[in-house]
């Protein structure tokens, strides 16, 4: 069946071939060139729309993108967010006048922490030495009035942290890093996969061995080890560290794409239109560009949408192990915030168990739950979208 849609192509139209109501003659002026790509997009969107879970995922994703934009636009003061200099500690006490303590701060753009002097707050008769001044905590991020504070940390020494701001900024972080990593990984994987699949032979073997090598090392480990080595070489400083982390992730990510694309290219390569293009004299590069690549790219889209959700999870895992990817313990990244809450978990659990259920277990569950929920919702919405895309794009599963 020719998929000419509702507007037939005039050259071949015979009476009775168009939709009912079409007169026997088709005038040239009503002819509209059908755009196959647009039609395909519309078709894909139709199947996607019918998938409730995919639409739910899309909705949540839109929400996250809105949060991302919000975080970009309303840049709160960074000192509010780079809060707790865990590994670096506060500079000496003596620089501050009496009754004040020096609080460690790490403003954006600086390479080492500094200190500011603030008056020691006394709450319930207890002076708190590690804290953030109230002016900072109550300043919210932009017009929305969520100023949720959390008290957390080691049992007995609270500090204040604006969880809401951390979550929004975390959206910025997670989204931008995920997209950067996945996009770069996908593109490099696509290129390598196409070359390996199309040219075959020795090139294919070598590239596939390379892919296998990178796939054999568990991702977290490779990232950790790369950052470790980079650190030793001398890549210090925060921005460089982040770049190193992104680079390490990309290095672990491209093999999946290379494999997928190569599999697809192997199938596409045997198709008749490639043979026809070759017979009509197209060069290798042209065939790759015009025929092979556009047709092998669909599984990449699906995999990309899956992976965008996985990156923040991996970062969270690395932070949870205890590996200092970020310079501050309470870095505004979902995984970091959540992981920090579990530092003293065993003792707390022990207490809780002894005290029995129902008693006040001093575990800041909200510090674990909300970033965790953010991670979860992000990943799951992306997964729904990816699955919907896969079902919509796969010609074999189509109804």
């Amino acid at each position: 069946m020719s998929a000419t849609g509702t507007n037939g192509i005039a050259e071949e139209a015979l009476p009775g071939e168009g939709p009912p109501g079409n007169s026997a003659t088709v005038t040239a002026s009503t002819r509209r060139r059908p755009n196959p790509r647009l039609d395909q997009f519309k078709r894909t969107w139709y199947f996607f729309r019918r998938n409730t879970l995919a639409m739910v995922g899309l909705g949540i994703l839109v929400f996250f993108v809105a949060a991302f934009v919000y975080g970009l636009v309303f840049q709160g003061p960074t000192t509010q967010l780079n809060l707790y200099c865990a590994t670096d500690g506060a500079p000496s006490q003596s620089t501050c006048p009496a009754g004040n303590i020096s609080v460690c701060t790490y403003p954006q753009g600086t390479t080492s922490p500094g200190a500011n002097c603030y008056q020691t707050p006394v709450i319930d008769g207890i002076p708190y030495n590690n804290f953030i001044p109230p002016t900072m905590t109550t300043t919210t991020l932009g017009p929305l009035p969520f100023g949720a504070l959390i008290q957390s940390g080691q049992v007995g020494t609270p500090y204040f942290y604006n969880l809401y701001a951390g979550l929004v900024k975390g959206t910025d972080w997670s989204l931008s890093i995920s997209v950067a990593i996945v996009l770069t990984g996908a593109i490099s994987g696509l290129l390598i996969g196409v070359i390996a699949g199309f040219y075959g032979g020795v090139v294919d073997e070598v590239l596939m061995r390379l892919t296998d090598i990178f796939l054999s090392v568990p991702q977290i480990l490779l990232v950790i080890v790369v950052i470790l080595a980079g650190q030793e070489i001398g890549i210090t400083g925060f921005d460089n560290r982040i770049l190193l982390m992104v680079g390490a992730f990309i290095a672990t990510w491209w093999p999946t794409y290379a494999r997928i694309v190569r599999g697809q290219v192997l199938v596409v390569r045997e198709q008749k239109y490639v043979e026809a293009a070759r017979a009509s004299g197209a060069s290798g590069g042209r065939i790759v560009r015009k025929h092979v690549m556009p047709n092998s790219v669909y599984p990449v889209f699906v995999q990309m949408s899956l992976d965008v959700g996985t990156v923040p999870l991996l970062i969270a895992a690395i932070v949870y192990i205890g590996f200092p990817i970020f310079p501050n313990v309470l870095w505004p990244e979902w995984g970091s915030i959540a992981a920090e809450s579990t530092l003293t978990l065993p003792d707390i659990l022990q207490e809780c168990a002894i005290l029995g259920s129902g008693s006040a277990c001093p575990f800041p569950w909200w510090q674990l739950l909300f970033p965790g929920m953010a991670l979860f919702l992000f990943a799951i919405s992306v997964n729904f979208v990816a699955d919907g895309l896969r079902d919509a794009l796969d010609p074999r599963l189509r109804r």
Partner: protein
């Protein structure tokens, strides 16, 4: 072949009178042997496919009959709905998106499409070319289950690309054996249970065989093998003997100890025996269920009580089978059956003239060529002696020489077994060779239906005339090649009235509006065209 085998068994009954169980009557499966009797009656079949692009009216008002022993050819261009017809008959249409909308298919009086209208509801979507189909999956699954009574036993199918049609991870004998066990399992188990390897007649028969084997006298060997098989009461032993003989090299002695060890497979341990009896009971219940299904389709209402009765008998059986699997005894108890199935499938392969059948049976589908695989498929389809065989373009994927062999084989089997064949193809030459009767299809409708000679000598429908005219003639080289102008219509918006009218050189104004009725033009020649005004055939 299977008929020969069951003949032996019956003879043997009369000779020794020893049987463990009475043979169940399979009369319900095999129709009365009257030539001219209608095996399949398709009436007003309509199948649509509900897709994103709209509703594809693949089949519209298709009607024809297949009589016993007849080969009916279904011809048409690619995309005219031939395969869809075959799949509709056995209800193998993939249900989303396809749907048999309407029609009756009578097989031995049973309407295979019973209950069709209650399986789905249709609701057109406004402002769109799509139709919303709400399917009742439970009913559809039940209908599928009912079709099991007919598929394989009554109507067998062979498909177009044999390499794709066979399961790549199972051996050939495994797949052949599956079909055999399913439909002929009871007879097989009976013969196993009744085998008498220790019969006093076996010894001398084996000696005679060894005698015949040494000088390699084929005739004598075959007779001797047959005698041994009769003595043991298992027909497939004949095949086993002959094949082993063939494979034994000239130097080695083909002697009694070896033959005795071959006989071992008939000595069943009590555990095996009890399992075989249990299996036989289960297969009997299966067969009964299939008969009930046929009756349901025949009578037009459910036989719930009978099904419940069968189900109540079945349950303890299945519960008892499960522990066997857990204890790993399965392999032990199944060995005699598997051996028997192996040799029976070797026998089937012999029947379809495959060289070296013992080795081929042990191989996998990807090791065989297309021609051989198609023979295997034919063996599989005909192993159960079905009254009707649907062949969906069996030779399209094969080259011409193999094609000739396959058609020859099909002819031969047809005369031996008496199966009716419905051959679907686009190749008129094949039709001319093999068919007794031809149905010409165009765009989902049957346009002409005639005996084969009639069709070629006096085609009535303009489409058929065009088809025959476009066959290149070697004896008229100066003529330009003829082709029917235009192309196959889009079945989402089929032409109104006669679907061929846009391309018909003799189209009249009425063709554009009214669908032509099927008229009888004498000599068994029916045509659907406004040009002819014969007696309208009552559909």
């Amino acid at each position: 072949m299977a008929i020969a085998e069951s003949t032996i068994t019956t003879e043997e009954d009369q000779l020794t009178g020893v049987r463990e169980r009475p043979v169940p009557t399979t009369a319900a499966v095999r129709p009365a042997a009257t030539p001219g009797e209608v095996v399949l009656d398709v009436h007003d079949l309509a199948t649509y496919f509900y897709t994103y692009d709209g509703v594809v009216h693949a089949l519209e008002g298709v009607s024809f009959r297949v009589r016993k022993g007849e080969t009916v050819g279904l011809v048409g261009e690619t995309g005219c709905g031939k395969s869809v017809t075959a799949f509709s008959i056995t209800r193998l249409i993939s249900d989303p998106p396809g749907r048999i909308v309407h029609g009756t298919i009578r097989y031995q009086g049973a309407n295979l499409l019973w209950g069709l209208d209650r399986e789905a509801k249709f609701k057109p979507i406004k402002n769109s070319k799509m139709v919303k189909v709400s399917r009742k999956f439970r009913r559809i699954r039940a209908a599928n289950e009912r079709m099991r009574a007919v598929r394989g036993r009554g109507i067998s199918m062979i498909f177009q690309e044999p390499q794709q049609a066979m399961n790549p991870v199972f051996t050939i004998w495994d797949q052949l054996g599956e079909a055999l066990y399913l439909h002929r399992g009871i007879e097989l188990l009976d013969s196993l249970l009744a085998a008498t390897p220790d019969d006093p007649e076996v010894g001398p028969a084996l000696d005679a065989f060894v005698e015949a084997a040494r000088p390699r006298n084929a005739e004598q060997a075959r007779d001797a093998a047959r005698r041994v098989a009769m003595a043991v009461q298992v027909p497939s032993f004949e095949t086993e003997l002959l094949q082993t003989l063939r494979q034994a090299s000239v130097e080695t002695d083909f002697d009694r100890p070896r033959l005795n060890s071959m006989l071992k497979r008939f000595r069943l341990t009590p555990l095996q025996r009890s399992w075989l009896r249990r299996e036989r009971r289960r297969l009997e219940l299966d067969r009964e269920t299939c008969d009930i299904y046929l009756d349901e389709m025949r009578d037009g209402h459910l036989h719930r009580a009978r099904k419940a009765a069968v189900r109540s008998q079945r349950l303890p059986n299945s519960l008892r089978r499960f522990p066997l699997r857990l204890w790993g005894i399965n392999r032990h108890v199944q060995k005699p059956v598997k051996r028997e199935l192996y040799w029976q499938s070797v026998r089937l392969l012999e029947g379809v003239r495959i060289a070296n059948p013992a080795q081929v049976a042990r191989g996998y589908p990807h090791e065989l060529s297309g021609g051989m695989l198609q023979r295997v498929m034919i063996a599989m389809a005909l192993s159960t002696d079905p009254p009707l065989l649907l062949a969906d373009e069996p030779t399209t994927a094969l080259d011409v020489t193999i094609q000739a062999q396959i058609l020859d084989l099909m002819n031969d089997l047809k005369t031996r077994v008496g199966t009716a064949i419905m051959l679907i193809t686009h190749d008129l030459a094949v039709i001319a060779e093999v068919a007794d009767r031809v149905c010409v299809m165009y765009a989902g409708q049957i346009v002409e239906n005639a005996p084969v000679r009639e069709l070629f000598e006096a085609p009535l429908h303009p489409y058929t005339q065009g088809l025959i005219a476009s066959i290149p003639r070697v004896d008229r080289p100066e003529k330009a090649l003829f082709s029917i102008p235009g192309s196959v219509p889009n079945l989402i918006y089929p032409p109104a009235g006669c679907r061929f009218h846009p391309r018909c050189p003799q189209a009249m104004p009425v063709c554009r509006e009214v669908r032509p009725p099927v008229t009888d033009e004498g000599n068994g020649h029916q045509v659907a065209c406004h040009l002819y005004h014969g007696k309208t055939v009552e559909q």
